[in-house]
């Protein structure tokens, strides 16, 4: 007995060591897998973001370096107490995000439901319907400014032919129409993304569910409400969340079509930041605004995921 014990003990030790080694190696694998992504993000996204946070408490103006100094919370105080553009632009951001994401969801859903049916040339028509997604902001701006033009724009021509208007409208130059005009142009570009993800979601709904609904005598509307929508819940939550964040930060069309004007009527918070970053040179102040918008999005994302009970039945 004692003999065998003596022999076995070292072997056991070796075994344990091997196990431990395997264990640590196994533990390391996920970290190795995320390492490349982690490095890219740390090096090229995290550093710029950290800079933004750092500069938000500085007076940093690249065209007037001699004003530069530590500012503490001065930038933030100025934003909340003196900035005449901050609250209006925040309100515009809200209007922008709600109208874009809301309308894109509704029309994206309609398009997805249509494209989910069987019909001739389905592949080709789907490809055509998704095309606006592949069009860049610069390009879309060119297209829409051609159409919105007061003198040679085709929209004016069509509306006058139908008799809806008597004289040409300057869609992008009127404080009451500019916002709506850009919303439509962005809607055009945004619907396909929703349509694609929703269509994908629709295709993974088991057919039996529809069969059961038909047996129960549910009409189209009821089937949609009680079968389709619940099945699409997670898709809708994730897509709208991503879209809210993206649309909040999206200024492509605003920048090119109206430049935030006329008279700031299309200046969203991100547009305001972009204007400061590209045309102004007060990087510190722009950074402080960015930190605020970062905070808003973070709080929104957390609340949205909590309240919508994402991935919970």
């Amino acid at each position: 007995m004692s003999y065998s014990q003596e022999v076995n003990e070292p072997a056991l030790k070796i075994n344990k060591a091997v196990q431990k080694k395997r264990f640590t190696k196994k533990k390391l694998i996920p970290y190795l897998f995320i390492l490349p992504s982690f490095l890219f993000i740390m090096g090229f996204l995290f550093y710029p973001i950290a800079m933004v946070f750092y500069y938000s408490v500085q007076h940093y103006d690249i065209s007037a370096p001699y004003y530069n100094r530590f500012a503490g919370l001065e930038n933030f105080v100025q934003i909340f107490t003196q900035d005449k553009l901050f609250f209006p632009s925040l309100l515009n951001s809200l209007k922008w995000v709600v109208s874009e994401v809301g309308l894109q969801l509704v029309f994206g859903m309609i398009l997805a439901l249509l494209l989910n049916q069987t019909f001739k040339f389905r592949g080709m028509i789907r490809a055509v319907a998704f095309v606006p997604w592949a069009i860049s902001g610069v390009l879309a701006s060119v297209m829409w400014s051609l159409m919105f033009n007061e003198h040679m724009g085709v929209l004016n021509d069509l509306l006058m032919k139908i008799g809806l208007i008597n004289e040409p409208m300057a869609f992008l130059a009127n404080t009451s129409t500019a916002f709506g005009a850009v919303v439509i142009a962005e809607l055009w570009r945004g619907i396909p993304f929703f349509a694609i993800t929703l269509l994908a979601g629709l295709q993974s709904i088991p057919n039996e569910l529809y069969e059961a609904a038909r047996v129960d005598g549910a009409n189209r509307w009821k089937t949609f409400i009680y079968v389709t929508l619940p099945q699409l819940k997670n898709t809708i939550i994730l897509t709208t969340l991503l879209r809210v964040v993206w649309e909040f930060n999206n200024v492509d069309l605003l920048f090119n079509l109206t430049g935030g004007g006329p008279a700031h009527s299309t200046t969203t918070l991100t547009m305001y930041i972009a204007e400061l970053a590209v045309h102004g040179s007060n990087f510190g102040y722009g950074s402080a605004l960015t930190v605020i918008s970062f905070g808003i999005l973070l709080v929104f994302a957390i609340l949205y995921l909590r309240l919508s009970r994402y991935e919970k039945e």
Binding site: G43, F119, V128, V131, P132, A134, W188, S204, N234
Partner: protein
């Protein structure tokens, strides 16, 4: 009688709305095409021509030869394809880690991915400028490839992890029992099943790089290194905007993306399905 009703029903609930949606989609593209084929003087001519009366390909020749769209196209392809390759490698690996492992810091990593989306790109330009100046990469396509990769990784990682979750774990385990290593099982078992997801990720990334404007504008100085959107914007500089050539340039920039879509749309829908179902 019944079949007639059905036809009317189909017309009202299917063909009519589909036609309306598609007209909204197609009209701007049609108008751009229409403009691209008109000689310069006819574009501003009233009454508007809904089809070009004197069609011409002059504008296309102008954009391709004089403005240098051939070069822009080449640059965009180089940047786009390289970014797609790097993004696919990184996001497949990290997506796999998120889908298959529980590890410390997973939530923190996820949060980090989400937070990167909260900063407007315009604010990142100066810091990026500093980084690439120090690396000596200003006006170098590598700077764009690196930046685009970093920007695309967060979303594509989530996309990929969603898709990997849908590949049954048992298949992988079976491969491991058969004596494959972890990487081999990834290569031979998971990868083929992932193909639609990979196509979706690739298309998503490619479209982004193909269209990105602001960063490309700020990080490239030489015309010979411009990507398509930046090249397109040079046509809007100076005094006169040559709408015909601009429209022709837009159409040229659009063609590769449309071909890609026509080819990949099926995978795109399937791939996204895997990812967003969660």
């Amino acid at each position: 009688m019944f079949s007639k009703n059905k036809k009317v029903d189909r017309l009202l609930t299917f063909y009519l709305p589909l036609t309306m949606m598609l007209s909204f989609t197609i009209f701007p593209v049609y108008w751009t095409l229409n403009t691209a084929f008109k000689p310069e003087g006819d574009i501003v001519q009233r009454p508007l021509q809904y089809l070009p009366i004197n069609p011409t390909v002059e504008n296309f020749a102008m954009a391709w030869n004089n403005v240098g769209f051939a070069v822009f196209m080449k640059n965009s392809l180089i940047v786009g394809i390289s970014t797609v390759v790097v993004v696919l490698i990184c996001s497949t690996l990290s997506g796999y880690a998120l889908a298959r492992f529980e590890f410390k810091g997973k939530r923190a990593f996820l949060l980090m991915l989400l937070c990167t989306q909260f900063i407007p790109r315009s604010m990142m330009i100066i810091p990026l400028f500093v980084i690439f100046k120090n690396l000596g990469l200003i006006s170098n396509p590598l700077a764009l490839i690196i930046t685009y990769t970093a920007i695309e990784i967060p979303f594509t990682t989530i996309l990929m992890s969603g898709f990997i979750k849908n590949v049954p774990k048992e298949l992988e385990e079976a491969a491991l029992i058969d004596g494959c290593t972890k990487l081999q099982s990834l290569r031979f078992v998971v990868f083929p099943l992932l193909l639609p997801g990979i196509v979706a990720t690739a298309v998503f990334t490619f479209i982004y790089t193909w269209n990105e404007f602001l960063i490309a504008l700020m990080l490239t100085n030489q015309q010979s290194k411009f990507t398509l959107p930046v090249g397109l914007s040079t046509m809007m500089g100076e005094f006169n905007v040559n709408y015909g050539a601009l429209a022709a340039g837009s159409i040229i920039a659009l063609v590769p993306a449309v071909i890609l879509f026509a080819y990949a749309q099926k995978h795109l829908v399937n791939g996204m399905g895997g990812a967003v179902k969660g």
